[in-house]
């Protein structure tokens, strides 16, 4: 297998753009990535588009605006992990030598409010009222509080940190600081999850150029190596959306832990080697749990990790320096490529006021419906 690199990145701000068609948003991100890599559209040999809520062949509709070169362009969907799977397809194509240069685009346009439940749930679950998306996280959060003493203040502190980080990210949606008191005073969505500690479905796009070592050497910006790219879905005993029932007798390793461990093996690293992490913060508890599953702290210690300040910029292992999904919003198809954009920016030393000093090794993690989890490890 060949080494695989990211030679260029592009992004369209995450937010709400009611007057801008997805074709225009995606094109902006794609062209930015091509320019950053110093390659032309005619150089791209295959392309993948991650999206969940957009129409059929969105990727082709967006990218062929640059010319109908006839290359394979395929849409990829794996819920919140869609971008990770699209990136993995390009990674495998380059690693195997099928192509030398690929483009990966992640994009979404979603309406305000709760996601359309029919994408994820069966009719009877919607009728019964089981289809509101934070429900499974909230139930896990309550159990975590019960078993480990995690507090509502610790959950709120995650939201405070991510909102604070987003102030320095021009591509985030909110870019506004909130106090602990404000987060705790915001309405409960699903107890104990408050409105200011949950991500909003929104709109956005991000793109990366994935290439061989030879093409990376010609990059207009600093290339970053893909050290691991893994996708798994939760096995039996994993509490994912949507479920009817779950075993009370056995609980397999959580899919985030499993996927991350496969990625660590693939990259030949340990979690403590990481300098910067972007992880799935569908809500504040999701982030606390991911600390543990990614091995940033022992099981049950997630609440204490946020208290310690270790995950702040300047701390031992800064998490969600971009502002995370809580502050950026979650345009599902664009979410993971947006994380990769942030990690590449950090590893290049181009993150400005939110720069993690000396960052050389970073990880991006997404987790969503169906137990879909993707982890990408990047290194300089």
């Amino acid at each position: 297998m060949r080494d695989v690199f990211i030679s260029g990145i592009g992004i369209h701000a995450f937010g709400r753009f009611p007057d801008k068609p997805y074709q225009a948003m995606g094109l902006e991100a794609a062209k930015m990535a091509l320019d950053d890599a110093g390659v032309a559209w005619k150089d791209i040999q295959t392309a993948y588009c991650a999206r969940m809520f957009l129409p059929a062949t969105s990727g082709a509709r967006i990218l062929t605006q640059m010319g109908r070169t006839g290359i394979s362009i395929a849409d990829v969907e794996a819920a919140c992990a869609s971008g990770g799977v699209a990136l993995r397809q390009a990674y495998m194509a380059v690693a195997a030598g099928f192509v030398d240069v690929a483009l990966v685009l992640g994009i979404e346009k979603m309406p305000r409010g709760f996601m359309d439940p029919r994408q994820l749930y069966e009719d009877w679950q919607i009728e019964m009222g089981l289809s509101q998306n934070p429900i499974p996280w909230a139930i896990r959060a309550r159990r975590h509080m019960h078993e480990f003493g995690t507090t509502e203040e610790q959950l709120a502190r995650v939201a405070v940190k991510n909102h604070r980080n987003s102030v320095h990210n021009p591509y985030a949606m909110y870019r506004k600081e909130f106090t602990l008191e404000q987060v705790l005073a915001s309405p409960l969505v699903n107890d104990p999850i408050h409105l200011l500690a949950v991500c909003a479905p929104n709109e956005g796009a991000a793109a990366v150029v994935v290439c061989s070592k030879e093409w990376a050497a010609k990059s207009a910006n600093k290339p970053v190596q893909i050290a691991a790219s893994v996708h798994r879905i939760g096995r039996y005993g994993h509490f994912s959306v949507p479920i009817y029932s779950i075993s009370a007798r056995q609980e397999n390793t959580h899919v985030s832990e499993w996927t991350a461990n496969l990625a660590y093996d693939m990259a030949g690293i340990e979690p403590q080697d990481l300098d910067v992490v972007e992880l799935q913060d569908t809500d504040a508890f999701c982030e606390i749990e991911a600390y543990e599953h990614l091995g940033l702290c022992p099981a049950g210690e997630g609440g204490r990790l946020i208290d310690s300040g270790d995950v702040d910029i300047g701390g031992r292992i800064p998490v969600n320096t971009s502002g995370g999904l809580i502050s950026k919003g979650e345009p599902v198809g664009a979410s993971h490529i947006g994380q990769v954009w942030e990690i590449v920016t950090q590893l290049r030393g181009q993150a400005g006021a939110r720069q993690v000093e000396g960052a050389r090794l970073g990880l991006a993690h997404v987790l969503g419906a169906g137990g879909n989890c993707a982890v990408t490890v990047l290194k300089t």
Binding site: D116, P117, E127, G129, P187, L188, Y244, S245, A248
Partner: protein, 143 residues
């Protein structure tokens, strides 16, 4: 009450004429003994197709819970005008599974470990005038 339907057919025992006699149905795997709600085509744990129907008992305990504070999106059949917040939780059954469903209890009295009892009840009338039964677990009333 007219004809009786259920919100998810393979979860409910038969016959359906006496609502008080209906209970939930699961499947037990003949190879690994794991239990699932309803009738999956294969054991989600070990892929065996040697599944047999297992009547599930009426009692359980609350493993964890949340409260739905806003009307859920889509074709929700519960109270909407006005919307009434409700609890959703995982109910642990002695058969070795946890069921995700609504919990009928005072929202400020929800407690992990609390004893619960199955409730099979008319939930809504469909377009054909049939009564659709749903299931939930309710706080067990103490004598």
């Amino acid at each position: 009450m007219g004809a009786i339907k259920t919100i998810r057919d393979d979860f409910f025992s038969e016959p359906r004429d006496d609502i008080a006699a209906i209970h939930l149905m699961g499947s037990a795997c003949g190879d690994c003994a794991e239990v699932s709600l309803g009738r999956p085509p294969a054991c989600p744990n070990c892929q065996s197709e040697a599944l047999s129907p297992l009547p599930l008992g009426r009692t359980g305990t609350l493993y964890s819970y949340t409260v739905v504070r806003n009307q859920p999106p889509g074709d929700y059949k519960g109270a909407t005008n006005p919307f009434v917040p409700y609890a959703v939780g995982l109910v642990e059954l002695p058969e070795g599974l946890r069921i995700l469903c609504r919990i009928d209890a005072a929202l400020d009295a929800l407690t992990i470990g609390a004893p619960l009892t199955l409730s099979i009840h008319p939930y809504y009338q469909n377009a054909d005038g049939e009564t659709v039964l749903s299931y939930s677990y309710a706080a067990t009333e103490t004598a």
